[in-house]
Subunit: 354 residues, 4 copies
């Protein structure tokens, strides 16, 4: 059976693979520095963001992107306010602390950073002046760790709050494709680029071999600090690929739209979302309870311990939480490589187990 | 004209590309953790090293590999003795210092770390006891920054010296393929694995898309410290690839030998060396002076300022040094993608300029 | 009026000052290395701890002591489990993170780290394996941030838990004098030394000019790592005093007991505690509500906003919390320099305000 | 016999001790924050520097001062150009690297950083662009490690060079008292303050218990960065003293001049210099060879191995170098506590050994 373990279980989408393979016969300068693929991809992304003077850089992975951007924005004694389940806390082995910067978690429980919770952390951290880590930026992700999609209203509210406190704003877009093509989404690349200091457009989890496109779009103090730091930090923190043109070639393929059609990046993400929707509807129809608020390519559902074991074995799903009553929250993830038939086969098993 | 700028100017060798493309239709666990490609590649590499209990891990790039291995061997207050032109000093933007560890350069001028120079640094650093960074390991590279190939005698001498001072030994093998297939080389993977604590087998500069295979083969204190640290540091320092199976697939293709034939890894390296030899011979025949002691895939030659400009423009070579008399040392690099005809075309130009 | 702001508002106790002044006419080797005062003080402390092979070192301040000991015990990818109000979190500006190590806060609300809360953090941190910071040690303080004194039972319980999870144990004893002389205390230096890997005996907050005595008493993996690291880390992290003999002279004076009498260190602490007790009783008699569980030299009491202003202005107390109903928790601290008359004068003002 | 080991072998000068003792009966806010002693000392130092808007802060020791100032000026990917024997390299256990910043040593052999050597390092470091640590500041010391005193001409030359390259300028004044009172010195506090971004006035090596006064006098980018960072970094890097008023009280006593007389700080330094001069003259008269260019309170002289042993045993001198011919360079240091008679007694022994 197809595995729904995650969206980085497979290699690249065929169109992306073709673009990479085409590089085999070419020669380019390394390190993303001035090769035609990177330059073209930068242009396409600036255009998609409506931000002609954005600095666009290609990084090998999400942890690198987060560490470089946050350590480039934050000064040595500053930390980033984020939700307690933020990726930089629970999936990156203290990579940010390894650069001497810290995460300052709120008690937000659903993955959305709220002004109210952020304000509590802010007040707490400013409480003893120079004796505590000073908040220097906020870190948010779209989609959230639990697949939630930011509405424009929610997003503007936290951006307003951060600006009001002179904090930098960084958005981790590891699954930004899925977010911006999710049903009901009202955010756009342009709007994000107009509000944050920097963000990244995730490639790894949306059909590329690897790679994320970092967009430094702000012009204030935090963005300026990051613009100056980026070239050096990317090398120093290990996020620079020697054959950098391979990243450019992938993003070029992803963002170059044929006349009248959507760019591949959005097509791949939309497909994953549609499979996830199909799965969510089927699970509900089978009588299972969804968990959380995901409307994107991750599906969280509550199952029994027995069901958990069978599903993990057959479909590779992972367990996220054990609830107080002993029931399990498991996650299924759809990707560009998931087919409607794969979803239906999984639903068949689910119905059997239900 | 073909560019001789470096050995990471092109994508991957066709056989490597095929292996990566074949992953598109599969599903694997991520992060190099237990997928069939990584496991098989590990087995092949352990076998090639004659080291059945080596820990073999796949890392996204050379800077990551160096930083992870050295910071895993060294304690917070220790540094690595290396030559003054070592890659960790001149090409990695202080990545090691960013982990709080330092490089301790000797005055060795030709890229080979000698016991005599290392001893001088050692004595100097131990001079004020706890008031100075303590030497904790040596860092050597085969080939050296200038393309030199370590002889077994030279290699054993520095290993003996390091062991006698209880220092860890790490060998950066970014161009190890080229080194071990160079004419006159008498070192082997097995011998290296029997003497060092850890080393890596470079993929990026030998026809892969990206990736290095780290081999932790020692059993002493330094290797043990690194074995425990590795899984965490790899994530923390940003060297872990989500679609890690792609690295496994490439090394699998590189080290799987068809009956009676050499593994692809060595074939690719040998080819680059042969092109470089052809180039060296042609340059000498054209009356130019070689610089340094390279017998591997990098060719260093002395030219005038005029020649430098023409060659850089036509063949993408880089200038390494400006000599006291104004002459330039430029570098040509051959790779798996260089053809004998490319070399001959370059030599034609050289003869024209001479 | 005497200020009750904190226990480091005054210079040193006269006997300590005399010991420091006596050094003016002597000559000693610097850096605490082998001078007679440090050696004697080490001997006295080893004896007081019943731990003849303890490594005893003198450090300039508490933040340095915490950072050196925790970064010496923890590996780069590890963190220290502690309560959410721990000193290393709320008063040290991320000094631990600046060394690449992190704090892993529990939800314990009263300053005592409990096995239950620590276990929850432990399970959470181990949840994604190498993708999260690994717990490597626990950090506890006696007294706690809120003046609480650890009972032997409570202390043994958390030590048992930590040992059961192979974690290092570090106790911050900035106010250890006050803790071990508090009414009802049943812990001893000897018992602490028999259970933890390392702890420190605070001088700054108990009548010395500055300085803390670090005792590395354990023999397991964590203590061993710290023993090796200490001399280097103390210098590297900025905690080594050039005129180190001054620290030795102070601890010598503090721990040298005249026949039949208690050592000065305990006398000074006991005095501060007695003043605090007198204050607590007076506050309760005046109808005020104590806050928390302090039985040591810090007194926490709930007051109105008006009272807060008057008390801060007259007695220098600091506000710790604003409660939900708008009332304030303020802190009064007694020291070796506080007199019974000072307490009575403060109580007079309190009764006036009540 | 009096020991000439170093200038931090004794406690504080009597006038300094009195100032510290006088604090015993007072109460002050901690952490150098607003107490009367620190505020007054700040005023006196600003006046002495002719720099009314300088930020003046008190730090516990020289290593902390260096680390805080350099890491506050330098960005994560930058390093400080300094001589190869600089204190930050040979006496601070990699403290700067522990903050992720590096030292970039020149080949200057006599402790004076020259524009020519600095330019060579600068060109080398800029050679591979973002692939190398970028020079961000220069670090110089007056006196140098070998007791040399900067002339105004030499000082202006290196400052001009640094400004021309947009580098920050930091002067380590651990022995600035000795430098500015040395015979032939033509530098002044005012002139230094008018050229550098920051420097510190050393107390530890000039008769104080401990403590250095950091003066941030510049107004450019580097000084501005340090001004913002200082309060946080001082705590984070462990350089903040709880009883900070003790530092203020010492510098107050040192810089408060009675009518018509020089401030104590200069008197103490001048005395040490005079003893050193007496010693230098006596050594030359006894037929010994001075080593290097010291005109300050450190005396370097060449002796035989036998003489070295006797002198070390009797006068506590340390060996700095073993020369090629087997002769030794030993150092004698004079301090505020050295008497002319002590010098004469040492010279008697020297004549005996000669």
């Amino acid at each position: 059976m197809h595995l729904f373990r995650n969206d980085y279980s497979e290699g690249a989408a065929p169109q992306i693979m073709d673009a990479v393979a085409a590089c085999g016969g070419e020669q380019s300068v390394g390190y993303t520095e001035g090769d035609a693929h990177c330059e073209h991809a930068r242009e396409l992304i600036r255009e998609a963001c409506g931000c002609p003077d954005a600095m666009v850089e290609f990084c090998i992975g999400g942890t690198s992107a987060n560490v470089i951007c946050l350590s480039g924005m934050l000064r040595d004694w500053e930390g980033a306010i984020c939700t307690r389940d933020a990726h930089i806390i629970v999936h990156e082995t203290g990579a940010l602390a390894a650069c001497g910067r810290t995460s300052l978690p709120t008690d937000d429980a659903d993955g959305f950073l709220t002004p109210e919770a952020a304000e509590r952390v802010y007040q707490f951290q400013m409480g003893t002046g120079r004796h505590m880590t000073r908040p220097g930026a906020i870190y948010i992700t779209d989609t959230t760790e639990l697949g939630g999609v930011w509405s424009r209203e929610r997003f503007d509210a936290i951006c307003d709050w951060a600006r009001g406190h002179d904090l930098g704003i960084f958005l981790d877009g590891a699954r930004l494709g899925s977010a911006l093509t999710a049903p009901g989404n009202d955010l756009t690349l342009e709007h994000i680029a107009s509000r944050v200091d920097a963000f990244y457009i995730g490639g790894t989890k949306n059909g590329m071999l690897m790679g994320e496109a970092i967009v430094i779009c702000g012009h204030g103090e935090h963005a300026q600090r990051l613009r100056e730091a980026f070239p050096y930090l990317q090398k120093e923190r290990g996020g620079l690929l020697a054959k950098g043109f391979l990243l450019g070639a992938q993003f070029e393929a992803a963002f170059e739209a044929a006349k009248g059609s959507e760019a591949l990046y959005w097509q791949l993400a939309r497909h994953a979302n549609e499979c996830a929707d199909r799965l969510r509807q089927g699970l509900v129809a089978a009588g299972l309870d969804l968990y959380g608020n995901s409307t994107s390519n991750q599906v969280f559902v509550t199952v029994s311990e027995d069901q958990e074991a069978r599903l993990a074995q057959a479909a590779g799903c992972e367990t996220f939480y054990v609830l107080a009553d002993g029931r399990r929250v498991v996650r299924f993830v759809c990707s560009w490589a998931t087919a409607a038939e794969d979803v239906d086969e999984l639903l068949g098993l689910v119905r059997e187990l239900a």
